[in-house]
């Protein structure tokens, strides 16, 4: 009580403060400092500056943990905990926001939408993600989740004059709010079980109970349904293809990478934390969900003609692979989850960068046909797309192979042979539909050639994602070290 806001609290909170500060600053500057259309690039510059400051804050936390050898820093009486897990995910979110910001500028120009609100919302959404990865208190986690989700509802509906975007936002919001309701119902039961909102005390209380205690089962079921909605695992995936297709393409990329990574951070935090002792209950459930997710994601992707929708189903199936790592649950499995998420965000964003560049004035450019002959029209983007698709399919030497390797290894180590076989079989299916896109790019006749909507920012985003997708696969050492962070306890 005596210490209201200690220096440790401040140290832990700095990245979030920077994100909120720059988010609000961009909203204000949009009106006061840079109202002219040609000054918009300064707003993007401020976004990047905000991310740099956030990065400095994260780097100081990283250094402190490495040098002091402490496993974690706690602040606000156990409300926030900076440990390897939180650091890892915050680095991922930082990279995601940077790439999304860079690829959005040109796209917003084409759509003729406001820049200020958009960049502000990116930073505020990342602020929500920060609390999702760092929070260890039910209330903080819940409010962080809502902050992130609310930003995403708005961004999905950002093209408010387009019906598609309105409808996608409405569907996403209805199902998102419903799942939040179920999730927080589970939280209320967890509070009843433990009498506290702190995850550490809840873990103790749950572990002290019978595995099949009715209240624990009720809390587990409602919480996991809410969480599985958020990560778009089947049978709770139906919002994903619609939201992904209707949203502005850059927001789709953000949704598929940032929102999904943050939701997985939350999911792993809950299942490897308070619910770890009830593994006997949730393991069969999650196995069923994972198999269903892989099946629906991969089979539905085969028939899609719209690239965004195809990538949406592919992202559903990737959620299935990540869940497999959690099911295995040993150290390799958790490391596999981290590696997979790291790899997944870059390869997915890379694919969406190319789809974004295909959107030009009077040309939606989302169908597979729109990619026809891309190698002749714009070899650079075709190569980026090829690298990302190979990686999504999990073909060496790209990074996607590395992620799948760790997941399969952990499944074999823990004796889930059947699951491993099923997962490998679905890789073959995935190769088929990814190669439909590749065939269109390299073999199909090019239509009338219209230049791609490229710009400096888009090129940097494409180069960054493609380099990392290839780089993590070829020279994985530093990235594996980074992915080791969440496993250290």
């Amino acid at each position: 009580m005596s210490q209201f806001y200690t220096s440790t609290d401040h140290f832990v909170l700095v990245p979030a403060i920077m994100l909120a500060l720059f988010g609000c600053a961009i909203l204000l500057f949009d009106f006061f400092l840079f109202p002219e259309p040609r000054q918009r690039k300064w707003l993007l510059a401020f976004l990047v500056l905000g991310l740099v400051f956030t990065g400095v804050g994260l780097w100081r936390q990283h250094r402190f943990l490495a040098e002091s050898g402490l496993p974690q820093i706690t602040a606000f009486q156990g409300t926030l905990t900076v440990d390897g897990f939180a650091l890892f995910f915050n680095w991922v979110f930082l990279a995601v926001s940077l790439v999304i910001g860079l690829m959005s500028y040109r796209y917003l120009e084409i759509e003729g939408e406001h820049h200020g609100e958009y960049y502000g919302l990116i930073l505020l959404a990342q602020c929500g993600m920060y609390f999702l990865a760092t929070g260890t208190d039910l209330i903080t986690l819940f409010i962080g989740l809502e902050l992130m989700a609310l930003c995403f509802y708005i961004m999905v509906g950002f093209l408010r004059t387009q019906k598609r975007s309105n409808e996608a936002a409405m569907k996403y919001l209805l199902l998102g709010a419903f799942s939040s309701g179920l999730l927080v119902y589970g939280f209320s039961i967890l509070y009843g079980i433990s009498g506290s909102t702190k995850l550490s005390e809840i873990s103790l209380a749950v572990a002290n109970r019978d595995t099949w205690d009715p209240l624990v089962v009720l809390a587990l079921i409602t919480t996991s349904v809410g969480l599985l909605f958020k990560v778009s695992a089947a049978p709770f995936h139906m919002w994903a293809p619609d939201a992904y297709e209707g949203a502005p393409t850059t927001v789709t990329a953000f949704l598929a990478s940032g929102s999904k990574a943050a939701s997985f951070a939350f999911l792993v935090r809950m299942f490897a934390g308070p619910f770890e002792s009830t593994r006997a209950v949730w393991e069969p459930l999650l196995i069923a969900v994972a198999i269903l997710t892989l099946t629906i994601g991969n089979l539905a992707a085969i028939t899609q003609e719209n690239v965004k929708r195809l990538l949406a189903y592919s992202s559903i199936s990737h959620a299935g692979y990540i869940l497999l790592g959690l099911i295995a649950g040993n150290e390799t499995g958790l490391k596999g989850v981290a590696v997979y998420i790291l790899v997944y965000v870059f390869m997915t964003m890379g694919a969406f960068v190319v789809v974004t560049a295909l959107r030009r004035a009077h040309l939606i450019g989302e169908n597979i046909d729109d990619l026809a002959g891309l190698i002749h029209r714009s070899p650079g983007y075709a190569i980026v797309m090829l690298v990302c698709l190979l990686s999504l399919a999990g073909i060496p030497p790209t990074a996607g192979f590395l992620g799948k390797y760790y997941i399969f290894l952990s499944l074999v180590q823990t004796g889930h042979y059947l699951l491993a076989v099923i997962a490998v079989l679905y890789v073959a299916v995935a190769v088929y539909y990814y190669f439909r896109i590749v065939r269109a790019m390299f073999v199909a006749e090019a239509g009338p050639s219209v230049a791609l909507a490229s710009s400096f920012g888009v090129r940097v985003a494409a180069a960054l994602t493609a380099t990392l997708t290839l780089g993590i696969g070829i020279y994985p050492e530093p990235f594996l070290q980074l992915a080791q962070l969440p496993v250290m306890r």
Partner: protein
Amino acid sequence: MWNALFFYLFALIALGGGVLVITRRNAVHSALWLVVSLLGVAGEFLLLGAEFLFAVQIILYIGGVVLLILFVIMLVNLDQAARMRQFNRQWAIAGLCALVVGAEIAYFVWRGGPQAFQLATPVSAGPGEGNVEQLADVLFSRYLLPFEIASLLLLVAVIGSVVMAKKRS
């Protein structure tokens, strides 16, 4: 005795109102029944000695949220909507879900009686001071951080509704 009586009365209001919310054809009627249901829940709050939440429930929920919903119902013309089919074709799925969950709860109650649901043991007993003081104490010390994040949440909500509702310039 009176306590129990009021509990069942408010429970009936809350549940009955809830059922009517989801079965009425006209959305305005649904909204009015929502007010009734929320009043029932507010009554339960009063029984539980949560005076502050009782006030918040009435001022913010009924006076704010439901009013907002009513405004929008008036704004988007629902006259012909009321004459159309109100339920989608997911009756079977919804019924199944309800049945499974209901059966699960009934099973646990039947197996263990009320003791099936064992809560954590209370740590401290008896409220020493008024409800509002107690809440304020905790809200501005232990939960200061979520309180601040909630301000960001409301900011985003303001931005969002402005962005969505404004006309194209």
